[in-house]
Structures are given as C-alpha cells and as structure tokens.
Assembly symmetry: C2
Homo-oligomer: 512 residues x 2
Amino acid sequence: MSSKRLTLGSINQHVVAAKYAVRGELAVRSEQYRAELLQGNPNKLPFSQVISANIGNPQQLGQKPLTFFRQVCSILENPDLLKAEGVLVDQLGYKPDVIARARTLLQYCQSVGAYSASAGVPQIKESVAAFLESGLRFFFLFSLFCVSCSPPAVRTPNDIATGRDGFPADPSHIYLSGGASSGVNTLLNVICAGPDSGIMIPIPQYPLYTATLSILNAQPVPYYLDEAKGWGTDFESIKSAYAAAKARGVDVRCIVIINPGNPTGSSLPEEDIRAVLEFARQEQLVVLADEVYQTNVFVGKFTSFKAILRRLQQEQPGRYDDIELASLHSISKGMVGECGHRGGYFELVGFDAEVEANIYKFISIMLCPPVIGQCLVELMVNPPREGEPSYEQYQAEYGAIYKDLRDRATALHAAFSQMEGVECGEPQGAMYLFPTIKLPVKAAEAAAAEGRTADEFYCMRLLEATGVCVVPGSGFGQRDGSLHFRTTFLAPGIEWVGSIVQFHQGFMEKYR
Amino acid sequence: MSSKRLTLGSINQHVVAAKYAVRGELAVRSEQYRAELLQGNPNKLPFSQVISANIGNPQQLGQKPLTFFRQVCSILENPDLLKAEGVLVDQLGYKPDVIARARTLLQYCQSVGAYSASAGVPQIKESVAAFLESGLRFFFLFSLFCVSCSPPAVRTPNDIATGRDGFPADPSHIYLSGGASSGVNTLLNVICAGPDSGIMIPIPQYPLYTATLSILNAQPVPYYLDEAKGWGTDFESIKSAYAAAKARGVDVRCIVIINPGNPTGSSLPEEDIRAVLEFARQEQLVVLADEVYQTNVFVGKFTSFKAILRRLQQEQPGRYDDIELASLHSISKGMVGECGHRGGYFELVGFDAEVEANIYKFISIMLCPPVIGQCLVELMVNPPREGEPSYEQYQAEYGAIYKDLRDRATALHAAFSQMEGVECGEPQGAMYLFPTIKLPVKAAEAAAAEGRTADEFYCMRLLEATGVCVVPGSGFGQRDGSLHFRTTFLAPGIEWVGSIVQFHQGFMEKYR
C-alpha cells in the first residue's frame, strides 16, 4: 500500500479513465527508441531511425515551413531587425511585403511577448473574419481549377486558403485558441453540464473528444462512420445512436462532425451537411464542426458548415435561426503544418450572449493563446496575394507541399494494396490512411496473452521490428470485430513503407 | 425564455460559478476604452491612454525583451538565417553565442513548428534540471552580492537566474507547460477527485486557483495571509483553516503556497517553509509551490521549497520521504516577462509513478506546450555566462529591468503614502502593490446601489476617470470589512500615478 497522498486510486478517476492512444504507450516507447538510437544504439535495435507516423506532425518529418510565414515571425521575435531593413532586403532576401506584414502585426500585438486579449488580438480576429467572408474569390478560383486542370496545379491550395464562405463573419464571435484542441476543450467544458450530458462523436474519431469527455464525466454518444463509403457520414447511424442515447436518458446536447474526416480525410458533400443541420435543428443540438483539415482535400471539395447554415437561413428564413454552430480551424494542419506554435481559432454562430460571456471567462483563466501562434493564424488566413512580392514563392512552396502529401498518400496506399489481409480506401485527404487489417487467430491469441488487443499487439510488433510508430484502430474506435491502424503519410522516402510491407509479411507467416 | 439549447441555466454551472476578476468586467471595459481612443476618442473620454495595471504584462507596457533571447528566437523562427551567418554577425550584431544557441535549440526541437514530446523537448528538460541543481554558483554569487553592495548591483539578478537549489533534479520529473497557469490547471485536475476534495489556498490569492477549483467542483480551503506582516504566511491561520475544513468533512489534499507572494511579493523565510513542509508531512498534504516570482524579490531572498525539502531529508533521513511537492515556474514574470509566449514548467518530487503517468496522459491530450515558449524556458534557465560574448549586454539589460521595477514600485508606494485612507506595505517584490483603502460610508452606499462591492465601485470609477485599470481586492479575496486593490508597478512614467492620486482625492471629497 502506497504511503503517498496521491495514488492511482485516490486521484481524479475521470482522468484515470481517459484514454489517449495517439500519445500512449506506443508513442512513449518510440521516443525511448529514438533516444537509444541517438546514443549509438547500444541495444542493437533492428532499425536506424524512428518514423513517427502516429501523429500529424509534418515539420518533425522534414516538411519545411512556409518561408513568408517564418520570415515574418523572425522579425516579430526580433523587431530590432527592422532597424536594418536594407540588410534584410538586400542580403537576406526578405521581400518588402514580409517587412510590411511584420510591422503591421507588431502594431496589432505590440510585442509577441505581451499577453493579448483573452480571445486573441482584435485585429487578427478581424483578419479571420475577412477570410471567412471573402468566399467569392475562392469559389471563382476553385472553379477555375476544376475546369482547367487535373491533377491540381500548384496554385490551387493557396487559392482555397484566401477565402472561404462568402458570408459575413463577426470578429466578436471569433476566439483564437492554442491549437484547435484547446478550442474543443473550452467548448466541451462549457457545453457539458454533468454526467447526463451527451455529445455525439463520430467513430472512428480523434481521441481528444473521448478523452475530454471522460475527464468531464460526460457521455460520448458514438455514431459509426461508413467504411464502405470511404468513412462518410452515415445518417441512419446518427439517428439510431441519438435515439438509443435518448432512450437511456442521456441529455444529448451536441453533435461533433470532423469534416474533412480524421482519420480519413473524407469530405462531406453539401447534402450531408444540410441533413446534419436539419437534424440538429429538429433535436436542438449544438453543432461542433471540427474543420481543421479543410485544405487537406484530395477528392471532392471542402464546404464549411457555416456556409451551408447561412444558405439554409437564406432559403428558409426563420427556420434555422436558432442553430448554434461552433466551427474550428488550426495552423497545425493543411500546408501550414505549424503544430508546435499552437495556433487556431473557433467561430461561434447563434450562441446566446450569456453563454458566450462564460466561454470568454473560461478562456481568460488561461490568459491568452500564444501570441506568435496568433500571428501565424493571421498569416494563414491572409497569405501573400497575387501581385505581391512574396506571392510566387509562397504559391510554389504551398503547392509543392500539397503535391508531396498527395504523392506520399498514393505511394503508401499502393503498398497497402499489396499486403495480405489489408484493405484501404483510396486516400481522400487529411494526413492519414486508416487501413483495415485482418489478422490470423493465433495473432489474436498471442495478443490476449499479453493483455493487448490484436491491433495494439500488431502495432507494437511493427514498432519493435521497423521503428515505425502507428496508432491501433482501437485508439480511435472501430466496429467490434474489425481491426485497423492509423498512419500518417507525412514521412519522406519509401524505405519505411517497404519496411512495413516486409514486417507484415513476416507477421502473417509467423501467426498463420 | 431563450430558444437556444445552451443558456446560462443549462451550461456547465461550475463554469458559470467561476470568478476571474483579473480579466473581468473592468478589463473588458478598459479594452473598449483603448479601442475608442484608437478611433479618435469620439466619446471624449477624459484621458488619453489606458494603463493596464490590472495584469502583470511587462511588454505591453513597453518593457523591451532581452536581446539575447529574441535574437535566438528570430533564428529559431527562420533557420534560413543561419545560411547568412556572416551577415548576422557583421551587419546585424548577432554574437556568436546567439548563433550557437540557436543551432543547439534547433537540434533539440528540429523545428519550432513541430510538436514536441508532451512534457517538453527532452534536452530542454535537462537544462531545467541543470539550472535547478547548480545552486553552488548561485549561493556563492548571492553571498558576494549581499556582502558587497546594497542596493543590488546590476549583476545580481542574473546570477540568481543561473542556478538555484544545489540539489539534483531529475529531468524525467520536469514537465514543460504553457505558462505556469497551464501547469496549475493540470495539477488541480489530477489532484481533485470530487466535490469533497479540498485545496488550501492563500487569501489574497491569484484567482486562477479559485476559478479552477470552481470549474472542477472542488473546494477551496482559504487561509488568510497576515497583512500586518507584509502578507506573510500566518501559520496559525493555516492550521485553523485546515482544522475547520476537516471538521466539515472536506478531504483536504493539498496546500498551495505562492512564494514570493502574489499580490505582494513577500518572500517566505526558511523557517516558514520548514513549518509548511512539516505540516504537510503530518497531515499528508501535497505541497503546490507557485514560485513564478522567484526573481522578483526586492527584500530578503528567495528560497525554494525543493531546496528546503532536500535539506530536511538530509537532516532527518526517512522522515520527509513521502512528501509530494510540485513547484512551478514561468517565463512570464521575473525580468524575462515573456507572457505572450506561454512558457513555464513544473517539477514533481515524491509523486507516485502511476500518478505521474496520469499527469503525463492529461497533458498529452493537449499535445504539447508551445515550442518557442519551451525554447525561452531554456534561455531563461541557461542565460549567457560570464566570458560569453552576449554576457555583458544581457547582464546590463537584466539589471536595468530589475532596477526599473524597483524604482517604479518605490515611486508608486510613495504616492500611496500620501493618499488619505490608503495604507500600503513597502514593496517587497513580485509586480504588484496591494494597498488597503478605507472608503467613506456614502461610497459603500453608492456601490450597493449599483450592485457592486465598494472596491469594485472604486476601481470602476478610477478607470472611468483616469484610464487606469486595477483589480479590486475582492477579486483576490480579502478579510471581511477590508478593501483593497491590486495594481502592477510596470507602467512607465509617473503621470498615471499622479492621476490616481488626483482621482482619489476627488472621490473621497465626493463621498465624504
């Protein structure tokens, strides 16, 4: 018996119950391996590098940040550089728009070392609102792309990033956050009022949701996505999950939609978004639209919940006025990939003013999101425009990252297609593939003997043999009897893909 | 009746109940005034600037960041600068140690845009451990200063920052965090297990504690600090508050000590720290030492809880082995003042391994603290050393900030001394003064008519008349019948101090 005040049995049991596989045992083990390799591999691990395919972390895997963004940030960190503008321009290749933007952002925030307002620097919120509103340019350029070229030309993704909905956005309802995760945490903290509160979440899901609900002692109300339709939203599944939860007395308050999807990047078609909003209206559910992968789209196109809600409100005045929608975005994903800077925002539509005041109070307790991350949000929503000095380089870099991601996804998908017992839908977007694996019975028995699920067992053996770290499907949720794993397609090269193929073959033979 | 799903009555009532005055109504109003002034003062406010003395935010008030830190950060943001090392050195004045440090930190984190390990970049945790351990240099130089000069010479504060306890620290028990606030949030989430869990907190306190406990639906067990002794810890008050809480069935689990104190910067003498640790041992309380102001000390010297715990363990082997201590630090305060970067860390001593595993899991759900903030933690704990190229400039800047803070505190204190009905202890450190105000009965009546406490009423009128934003004592807690306000002494100039004096005189006359 421990003599400590805090023991596994005495601490917050809701924290103990929370599961977060993305950074769980496998991730910890992979970090140990990485440290061993740095120390000269004393234990003779059978691989020379660890590939962290467990988490969407592009820059850790060598993705170079966007030059314009980081040049601006370097000045924000050291404003003294502005005293040597000539040196920056003539000798370091900083273009005038880099310097102008840095000056503007410094005016906005005074110093990136100063706390901002809790919901973010006011002018940055205005930039976000302008981005959300200026949809015409987006639709125009997007159509241009659709007609003119396939596969996408270099200019497309950025054009997507320069505007979105074509409907006004109000800066006072925009809240900057430390990544989208922090925004989700805020919203769930406010929405969940006790153990009866239920939140509908897609399965498979990003485990932030179940982990946070566990800590809040609220109830996840899972609805299954349809693997046969590329993990699309299955509306019947939503309705039956809702009905079952209601029947057992759950106070279902909110539906979470991850669009484009994580783990699979599937984009919801407009009619599905309409159906979800109609359902939310009927059942009075808050809609939480996690839209962090909005630019990671290979198939179809991204349409925001906000845009569709506004269209519905135009089409049928009055009918959708009471819908409460929160939509989230982030600098961590897309072609920006600035995870380590922890930036993001959420927009609230139709929320009660007193509720918003409490959301504001909640975030103010943690003071403010990182200010340099806020500045990166501004850069993301307001990148160099055509005709500006940094435009071409920005476009070229942005387009190359987009193309790289698609090419890697395709290569990885091709490898999975050759593997016995592995089935994987075509890559649609996000940063992940989520193949089904069918494992021999003996593998399941060996897993049970270790106290693991079969997919955990498989992923652990994969890590030990190859240094490739992926996440078992059980970490995201999967239908009973099915097994999956999630891997990012961010790591460069093909050697690691080959090592997965080889491992898989050996594994299947061993447990046949 | 609202037709919304989420209303004040239906959302999380623990969030509704939370209070956080530092960023409350007064702060919001002050931001509105600031925006009005920017728009040319259409409503003819009777002041030309807003002075945000409500929050310790040095760089918002013009404190220049430390050059060495920000030069390093500029390279971290744009590593391409390393390709032009000659230009950096010859034309931009970057010293070789700036470049070397940036290279090292980039090796550690790969990119400041990549997620790090959840508890922070491993090598940065090692730097923190080295800082905590290397106390000999600190004690030597501190003694040197104590003997050789009073008031402090320029070199002192930095020497304090180059080492601390003289006892080993283990990097695996160090957790980087997004400011100390995030660390406190993590620890309270894990420690509080339900509505019976009680946490002892000092009054006056930093309202993060009561707000977080409210959200967690746990019980604050307040103990009053002794205003007559410069807001020192009153041990009898701790014991009686504990006994009273136990008697009403509270499961008191933890005692929070803010040392040096916020709002007043008083430093606990060693014997008080020993007494608290002995009490924690007897009653099996976790000790949470909020030590973010450890370098903001004008009177006496800072001694860490960790150092005293280790001394006690040496003196009486076995007796203190079960003590669980968490101590927190931050880049937001001290002479560093990098609030907007959201960096900090906490060290755990004596925690159960399974409990630490749950703390790790909790922080991993939010992925990782901002990486550039982590790098600033490294710079804070490992600043330029004597003989290194950036040493002199760093020392000069650091010492000048220290001196400025002390001078401003002294000037503000002198102003308060002249004000009728205002009493204020001598400034001891931190970034705040916390004067008592005695207001006329008519003022209390006018406040009640507005539904405000008298100190809120006073602070609101002060803001309206002068643009100076301070926080009413009720936001921190104060003994019944006493009134206070907290003001930072960070704002430059003396005009704003004069405006407080003038307002106060008018206020007292109006309500006499």
